[in-house]
């Protein structure tokens, strides 16, 4: 008798992902979907799709979804959660969406400690529009709008959203994780689970930043991209917990 050791989570639909080979959106989608299933909250979850590569993730997550304007997902999530406090509301946003055009919305959602879960994907570029410079692009990193490499004198140092949000009293939980190897994938899943449990307990704003990859726009193979994330991204964006509820503090 054979035993099932792995199968598709009920948190995902049958729809094939639209992501490029080697992009870690797929892994992160699966982690979020597995957590929704394991916490038994899939049937009361309402997700917010961003603008960017994940714009069509309303086709992937097997729960109610709303698609939001660029950067506005935390405001849309606020509107939903305030009128439906018993539902589980999450946003899934990239770095162009959350760290650039949507800074006001994310800062104030944290500031009000909206009882929502935010999944933030940081791959240091605008992926969907073709690899332009993001606020998170590393110094010296070449993109289509920083063809000579990001110049900090002209464009500033990359913005660290987790550290920034961690200064806000309303940010209940802020953690940065990575999915560049299996051990980190497991750690990342624990963070996602915690971020949803915090919402279930009504403790307020929970934020998980993922170091992600964009092989196509980075001009790298999937493996090179994972290595680059590990060597360069994590060097500038250190992994770890930046804020957590008092009872959970070590």
């Amino acid at each position: 008798m054979s035993k099932i050791v792995f199968q598709r989570t009920k948190g995902l639909t049958e729809k094939e992902f639209s992501y490029c080979p080697g992009c870690t959106h797929g892994i992160i989608h699966r982690l979020v979907a597995e957590v929704l299933e394991e916490l038994n909250i899939l049937d009361k979850a309402i997700g917010i799709s961003p603008v960017g590569c994940a714009v069509m993730n309303y086709e992937f997550f097997n729960c109610d979804m709303q698609q939001a304007a660029h950067g506005r997902a935390p405001a849309v999530a606020t509107g939903i959660k305030r009128v439906r406090p018993d539902n589980i509301v999450f946003t899934y946003q990239g770095d162009g969406d959350l760290a650039s055009i949507g800074t006001a919305e994310i800062v104030h959602a944290a500031h009000r400690s909206e009882n929502i879960t935010v999944i933030f994907i940081n791959n240091a570029v605008y992926g969907m529009t073709g690899g332009q410079m993001a606020p998170t692009t590393l110094v010296g990193q070449k993109t289509t709008t920083s063809p000579f490499g990001r110049d900090a004198r002209l464009c500033g140092e990359p913005i660290r959203m987790s550290e920034l949000l961690a200064t806000i009293p309303g940010a209940t939980y802020v953690e940065r994780v990575s999915v560049h190897d299996p051990a980190n994938v497991r750690k990342a899943k624990r963070a996602v689970k915690k971020a949803f449990e915090i919402q279930m307990k009504g403790l307020g704003f929970a934020f998980v930043e993922f170091i992600s990859t964009c092989p196509v726009n980075w001009g790298k193979t999937p493996q090179e991209a994972l290595n680059w994330a590990k060597e360069h991204m994590i060097n500038y964006y250190p992994l770890g917990v930046f804020r957590e509820p008092k009872e959970d503090a070590q």
Partner: protein, 356 residues
């Protein structure tokens, strides 16, 4: 309930509560701030949500979320703030979400001023944001009518799953008038919001609130579906009032505060034996084109009177379709005309017409 004296902004807020509004998201801006202030105080008694957003942009996106979750929701602002909300309004029109948006108009462009204005007419009646869409827009002339159309607007928004704007000006917002907020208004039979994101509760497949159609054929189908809805709205929702039309020599087209000043001008003119009618749009989108069929043969010309440099006049000309000469009188920037100025404009136009 008998009429009581209320400030316009507060009466509008109370009307929304009476209409079953369960959520309000807004941002302070003159001359509408008493409206959110009233709701901050009274919304809890009605079991609803009041939230002051970080910006107009955030407020309208909160409205998007709450409306998508199936709840009666409203926002209010004034001209520059409404300009900021256009992104969200376009998304709501695209995703077919109902909401009531109150625009207590002030002078522009830019920061403009804070006095009454109708200079946002084109923005309101042409959609305002990107894409092929319209918002249904009421432009009432006094507080009682404003309260009544707000109560109806929630039904109309739900019926067509489309944003509805209440376009008043700072005068209606700030003035105190006797008003009966419990006056009966017509109710619509409303479809169930089966599209709302409430969580599947394990009982149905997931739903999605969305305005994205990457395949142009699908986007065209969606645009045509919206166009058919707008055609129905034009057919069924034009609203207007005709005053003093019998034997009129000239018809003035005016809405909102301007229409009230025109009423005084018409009285002054009639004392001089000059018969002038008023065609008063109550909806500015759909524009009441039907009303123009009721203009009698005695009328020699149409005068569009506006609190702008001339915006509605384009719609007047389209509805008139070349039948009669069309003139314009307006004050703008927050200036309100004396009735005598309108009397002079009418006489000038009639004089000119006699020479033709």
């Amino acid at each position: 309930m008998a009429k009581v004296m209320m400030k316009g902004n507060e009466a509008m807020a109370l009307a929304a509560l009476k209409a079953g509004c369960k959520a309000f998201f807004g941002y302070p801006i003159t001359p509408q701030s008493e409206l959110p202030e009233y709701l901050a105080k009274h919304m809890p008694k009605y079991g609803g949500v009041f939230l002051q957003a970080e910006s107009e942009v955030a407020a309208i996106n909160m409205v998007y979320g709450a409306s998508g979750a199936g709840v009666r929701v409203m926002t209010s602002s004034s001209s520059p703030g409404i300009a900021l909300k256009q992104e969200g309004i376009s998304y709501m029109a695209g995703a077919e979400l109902p909401a009531v948006i109150i625009n207590v108009m002030r002078g522009g462009p830019g920061l403009g001023g804070i006095q009454p204005s109708q200079a946002d007419y084109k923005q309101i009646t042409r959609g305002g944001g990107n894409g092929d869409y319209y918002v249904i827009a009421y432009a009432p002339e006094d507080l009682q009518e404003t309260v009544n159309v707000i109560k109806e607007a929630f039904d109309v928004a739900d019926l067509y799953s489309n944003p509805v704007m209440i376009a008043v000006d700072g005068l209606i917002g700030q003035m105190m008038e006797p008003v009966d907020v419990d006056m009966e208004v017509s109710k619509r039979e409303l479809p169930e919001k089966t599209w709302a994101t409430t969580g599947t509760q394990g009982k149905r497949p997931p739903v999605n609130i969305n305005s994205l159609y990457l395949d142009p054929l699908n986007l065209e189908k969606h645009a045509l579906k919206l166009a058919e809805k707008y055609r129905l709205i034009k057919e069924n929702e034009q609203r207007y009032e005709l005053v003093n039309m019998d034997g009129a020599e000239l018809v003035i087209v005016a809405f909102g505060t301007m229409a009230r000043i025109v009423r005084s001008a018409i009285e002054l003119l009639s004392e001089e034996g000059i018969k002038v009618g008023l065609l008063r749009p109550i909806t500015i989108w759909p524009f009441p084109e039907k009303a123009f069929n009721e203009i009698p043969d005695s009328v020699k010309g149409i005068l569009s009177c506006e609190l702008s440099t001339g915006q509605m006049i384009d719609d007047v000309k389209i509805a008139n379709n070349g039948r009669l000469p069309v003139g314009f009188f307006g004050r703008t920037g927050g200036m309100l005309p004396e009735p005598e100025e309108i009397v002079s404009a009418v006489k000038a136009m009639l004089g000119g017409l006699k020479h033709e």
